[in-house]
């Protein structure tokens, strides 16, 4: 529950940054999955 805009922004920005970092890691995983067998070929 938020009482001020400051609290709301603090929470949503924090979650967004954490998710952004996780997505960047996931993109690396996706890339490795995509090209994993290309290297072996």
């Amino acid at each position: 529950m938020y009482h001020t805009l400051q609290e709301f922004m603090h929470h949503t920005k924090g979650v967004s940054y954490v998710l952004g970092g996780l997505f960047l890691l996931a993109f690396i995983g996706l890339w490795l999955f995509l090209v994993g067998r290309e290297d072996r070929r």
Partner: protein, 392 residues
Amino acid sequence: MNGNGAFSSPSAGRVLTPFNLVTGIILLGGAAIVLLRFAKGLGATTNLSHTNPWGLWIGFDVMTGVALAAGGYVTSSAVYLFGLKEYKPVVRPAILTGFLGYALVVVGLIVDLGRPWRLPYPFVVQAGPTSALFEIALCVALYLATLFVEFTPAAFEWLGWRRWRKAVGAMTIALTIFGLILSTLHQSTLGAMYLVTPTKLHPLWYSPYLPVHFFISSAATGLSMVIFEGMLSHRIFNHQVEVSHEAFDRLTLGLAKAASIVLAIYFATKVLGLAQGDKWRLLATPMGLWFLLEVVGFVLLPCFLFALGVRDRRAGLVRFTALLVVVGVILNRLNVSIFAFNWTLPAEERYVPHWMEVWVTLSLVAAGLWAFRWIVNRMPILHEHPDYKGMH
């Protein structure tokens, strides 16, 4: 192949085919409804009202049509700007699809707006440069003209107009850059249009990132449409296709690799849109389940299936996945413009398309198929003209 470099179709001369009969009836009915619409107005042919002024003709014919026609800017940019020359065989079909798609968008828009003689008014009589709609109108008009010029080399080769073919060929890079700029602008602005509707569009679809969502999803749709349409062309016009099955599968997998990455980015921006507004609890509502179906079933799942198809070199899986993405973008555009729009209204006031609206939409699709077939059966779209080998 005849003297114009065109192939004669195996079914050439047969008029009463099932395809011709079905689409012919749809087109005749559509023409009658359009006449009725211009004679009697929107009230006689649609379920539109002051509460729901935009319906299927905007939601599908314009919003979805523009996204489905995105293959032109995606492939021409890849080949002519990023130097991926191996994808040249898919550029001409993609540009033709884009040109026909945008032409039908304009036709659909005229049917919806009425008074076609007023179409140039925003440009020459009363411009509204602060309006998102003005930007879309300007970009779509300019991009339709650009796509027409990009398409003309095939027509000039067919007609044997060498000097014109050479002149337009010299403009390829400039046209591609112009087309890319225009597409970036209007694909995103179609989403930006809905930024003024925070109280009407369901919060799960409303996001400050709407323009970003629309642009990124258009790129994924463009790639998927090229894969899907390539599959259909190879089956229906296989006597014209010069690319071997192996080479075509390689192109398909390359496009799928790009589509997988684009879908991953699109999925991330959709989730970040939820996080930015702290909308997680809405996912547990009926509309939330509908949203999850769209985002998980038609974005995340295709992203994974494309990646799996590329990794295991399964072109068939990739083609099925391309169809999933096409269905997904249709669902997304209809969600934003119809299903999740005015979502607070009671059921009896919600918009349901009139059967005549659906018929006109089907007529536009049928007209596109007829035009595509007519052009492909005559002009060098799926093959190279023997006199211009390696020129484009």
